[in-house]
């Protein structure tokens, strides 16, 4: 493409012009003085006398120079101001003090409207003709890429989207991004928060799909969003298409979920008969044999937990996981897994110290999935503790939440591992080598806690230990949000799409 070469900078124009103008002024003044002097000599007004000629020439030169200087100043001051204004709005680095349209000079010489026009055009036309051409090239390039850029207005409406962007038209005819965020951590939620609270903000999301599992042409993105208040493009969202990296793992999860479902039958029989055998042989078993049975029971229970994690993760990805919010106590939920957790601690030679007071406020949660979260977190703490180490489970109440901390003094994790801990299938290099697991337990635990309206976070120091904490809203703080049920025993079902649905009395095993 042809380009126009500019050797001279805008900011250099005034100095260069001023130098040329001075030289011209002096040459022309001297020239005119000489011509006038010659005319005066030829017309015999002055006689040939070197001194007289010299003095006449000097007087004439000074007179002409003074007159031209006066004209020069009158003409050049506005030109100087226009040049400074143009230099200021150019994209060149400069230290020029821009002339103010409301200054005395600008008002006196009528330059104010011209300066205002220059500043207005400069503001609207930046970054200039040359960069517009580049912008157009960037746009063309974006339209060819599988990854995409989307720009949204303050109210969330899409104002620009490159061709590959996952967009849809909502029922009101507005163009929206088509992405399957979780309700608790969505782009929309972040956008409304930062547009209310921040001037600038940035956030990244990983593994966000355009459609639920099973939909044709489903794509999976890593997303980086930035916000700048008052900008012409307040929200800029970059979507990196990672389908090729993530899709095989999702397909694998579908297959694993299918296999996990088939494993439920044998696991039922193994766990059940172990339970029956232990009850019937109790009293006749040596300590040694009892320990072997315990190891079998723990392994079977872990297998049952993995199956539940895989099936729930698969349901969660397909937006089919259901969380029933009912009034229950953290202590009663721990009671469901207490025997199993104590057994797991005992066969791994760990101590389990549980401090959950009976008088804690009740929480809004689902017994089955909350017990799954507790099992996952306690099991992790036990696995990554040292021989003879203690795992502490502590529940405390704050304003509208109950917080549960699972604390170990185990091997801990570096920040690089902590940052990825809740990602699906993530397992650190070290844990792959030393500890069994699927890389799904923390992913589904986070999904469950956030679906209940709680939060989960981790603090860890390598070689010191790890504390994983989660909060759940107290039942009283959310009870008024729950829809009244016509049935005598009220329960509320919350889908992870965020809708409240009435449900009926039941127990979960």
């Amino acid at each position: 493409m042809a380009t126009i070469k500019h050797d001279q900078m805008v900011k250099d124009y005034w100095n260069s012009y001023q130098s040329r103008a001075w030289i011209n002024l002096i040459i022309w003044s001297l020239g005119i003085s000489f011509v006038v002097m010659v005319i005066l000599f030829l017309s015999a007004i002055i006689k040939f006398d070197l001194i007289a000629l010299g003095v006449s020439f000097l007087i004439l030169a000074v007179v002409f120079l003074s007159l031209k200087l006066l004209v020069f100043e009158i003409l050049l001051v506005p030109l100087h101001q226009l040049a400074d204004a143009l230099t200021h709005v150019s994209d060149e680095p400069n230290a020029v003090e821009p002339p103010h349209p409301n200054s005395k000079h600008a008002r006196a010489n009528g330059l104010a409207p011209l300066l205002e026009l220059i500043y207005k055009l400069g503001a609207n036309y930046d970054p200039g003709v040359k960069q517009s051409a580049k912008q157009s090239e960037v746009e063309k390039g974006l339209h060819h890429s599988r990854s995409s850029v989307v720009i949204c207005s303050e109210n969330g409406e899409v104002t620009f989207a490159s061709h590959a962007a996952p967009i849809m038209t909502d029922p009101k005819g507005r163009i929206r991004l088509k992405l399957q965020f979780s309700d608790s951590d969505s782009l929309e939620k972040w956008a409304s928060q930062v547009s209310a609270d921040d001037v600038r903000a940035e956030k990244n999301w990983h593994r966000i799909a355009s459609d639920p599992v099973g939909v044709e042409d489903r794509r999976i993105f890593d997303i980086a969003a930035s916000y700048e208040k008052g900008s012409e493009a307040p929200f800029v969202i970059m979507l990196i298409d990672q389908t090729d990296s993530y899709q095989p793992e999702d397909d694998q999860l579908d297959f694993i979920a299918f296999a996990a479902h088939e494993l439920r039958g044998p696991v039922t029989v193994i766990r059940g008969y172990l339970d029956v055998l232990l009850q019937e042989l109790d009293g006749n078993l040596s300590n040694d044999h009892r320990q072997l049975f315990d190891r079998l029971a723990v392994s079977a229970n872990r297998l049952s937990g993995y199956i539940a994690n895989i099936l729930n993760a698969s349901r969660y990805d397909q937006r089919h996981m259901r969380i029933q919010l009912v009034e229950l106590s953290v202590g009663s939920v721990y009671g469901l897994i207490k025997d199993d957790m104590e057994l797991r601690a005992s066969i791994q030679n760990r101590l389990l110290a549980v401090d959950i007071a009976d008088n804690l406020p009740t929480v809004a949660a689902d017994a089955s999935t909350l017990s799954e979260v507790l099992s996952n977190l306690i099991d992790n703490a036990l696995k990554y503790s040292h021989d003879g180490g203690t795992v502490t489970v502590k529940a405390t109440a704050s304003d509208q939440f109950v917080q549960v901390d699972i604390i170990d003094q185990g091997i801990g994790m570096p920040p690089s591992v902590v940052a990825n801990l809740f990602h699906k299938f993530y397992r650190s290099h070290r844990s792959r080598e030393t500890v069994s697991g699927s890389g799904i337990g923390l992913y589904i635990s986070k999904a469950i806690i956030e679906s209940c309206g709680g939060t989960i976070d981790v603090r860890s120091k390598e070689g010191i230990g790890t504390t994983i904490s989660f909060t759940l809203p107290t039942y009283s703080s959310v009870a008024d949000k729950l829809v009244e049920s016509n049935h005598s025993n009220q329960e509320i079902l919350l889908t992870n799409r965020g809708g409240w649905i009435q449900n009926h009395n039941k127990y979960r095993g």
Binding site: H261, R271, V276, N503, Y507
Partner: protein, 129 residues
Amino acid sequence: MKIQSILFVEDDRYIGEMYVRSLRKAGYDVDWMVDGADGLVAARNKSYDLIMLDIMLPEMRGSDILKALRGKEDLVPNTRIIVLTNFDQDDESRLAMEHDVDAYLIKAEITPRKLIEMIGELDKLPPRK
């Protein structure tokens, strides 16, 4: 009313034997049916305190037995019903069943001892009607 008599409808021999054995040892009076049609006949002919239903059954599905017992008319108003299954139902079917039962349990997630504890909890609840 304390639960004493139990109808157990389960087609898997190992699972059926396991639960029947545990429940009988715990002192319950248990009848075991291995297909859905026989299960429905037994439920209609005898008044049980508790019926435990699998969903995937030969001859008649557990969901159909439930409809027959508690569809238009509640034929077993004084009986508690527990669904005990490993079958992954769609949400609508599951919700519909949960509406008519006292508990919906996943077999792989409980053990005979847990089930017996749960039956003990049902005993503490007020009568259904």
